[in-house]
Symmetry: C2
Subunit: 190 residues, 2 copies
């Protein structure tokens, strides 16, 4: 997605060979017009599928997921993150380890909002090691629902998560796929 790549090149901060900061438009400050374009692009990529629910995880996935939901007329559910969950009745839960933050969170979704009838697209802001995506897929599987695919705003293609999950048969649509962050420079695939 050309518009997104340009934004990353212009505003993204390469903090190391593995860390890209995009807090001026995605992770802290949000560019609503770009989020709308991203939501519509996801809708376009998955236009061959019937989607009944969009699943994401708080907080940075919410804006792009909501615009996808608006475009296709489907509700959005965001999984909640907690250090530990005490009450897990009526919740699907899974564990997600963040390598960047070096912490493990429990994520949860109320059983009310995912059922075996659902065709789900999972949306997330980043895909690197695939930990969040695995946790979200675990929750969809617990519900007996079907994962149609995953829509990722920025994939760090030089890390292994995306490859691993594609090898397992998951359809992943990444709007920007980064080949390298070496020498402080963002390089994209193709």
């Amino acid at each position: 997605m050309e518009l997104l790549r340009e934004k990353i090149e212009k505003e993204g901060q390469v903090l190391s060979d593995t860390v890209l900061k995009v807090d001026s438009f995605l992770n802290h400050q949000i560019d609503p017009m770009l989020m709308k374009e991203i939501g519509e692009e996801f809708a376009n990529r998955f236009s061959d599928q019937v989607i009944t629910k969009v699943l994401t995880i708080e907080s940075s996935g919410i804006a792009p997921a909501t615009f996808l939901g608006l475009t296709i007329g489907a509700p959005v559910v965001f999984a909640r993150k907690r250090k530990s969950l005490t009450l897990t009745d009526n919740l699907y839960t899974s564990s997600v380890h963040s390598f960047t933050k070096n912490e493990t969170n429990e994520i949860s979704v109320s059983k009310k909002f995912l059922s075996a009838d659902d065709n789900v697209v999972i949306i997330d802001d980043f895909l690197a090691n695939g930990e969040a995506l695995k946790g979200l897929m675990d929750i969809v599987n617990q519900a007996g629902a079907t994962v149609v695919g995953a829509g990722i705003v920025i994939e760090k293609g030089f890390q292994l998560g995306g490859q691993l999950m594609r090898d397992q048969g998951l359809r992943i649509e990444s709007l920007a796929n980064i080949k390298s962050l070496a020498n402080g420079k963002v390089e994209f695939f193709d």
Copy 2:
């Protein structure tokens, strides 16, 4: 806002005299079309003001704030919540106590995204005791920016936060203002 009141009456769950659960369209599952209408209604209510930035707090404020930002062409910033902050360089921070969850969180906004030139509308999903709103106003004040007003999706008008802050001169636009949750029934003002 009639559409919102109808949604609350239809899907809101009154858990006690003070707790209303609206997780089917606002706090966990999101109704994107309703969020769009809410964002446009906020834009309409503040159409007499020049707004340069929309400020909210993760996670449930993000969807309505983003649609306000889209409608008026302003960026959205969401304050981050943490149990405790270790690194506070380059951050405006404040403390917010949640009575429902009985926990205190540090909230923070990067100094990059709020400046003395900004005219800010604060958006939040609920207003009850006003703790989150006070924390967000504290952050805007630290930046030397101007608070144009606050847009609240659901105000619990039977609690004191809204009254208190209006008395201090804050303009608050609530799209649904609840008079009572007694006897398991939602009653609105006017």
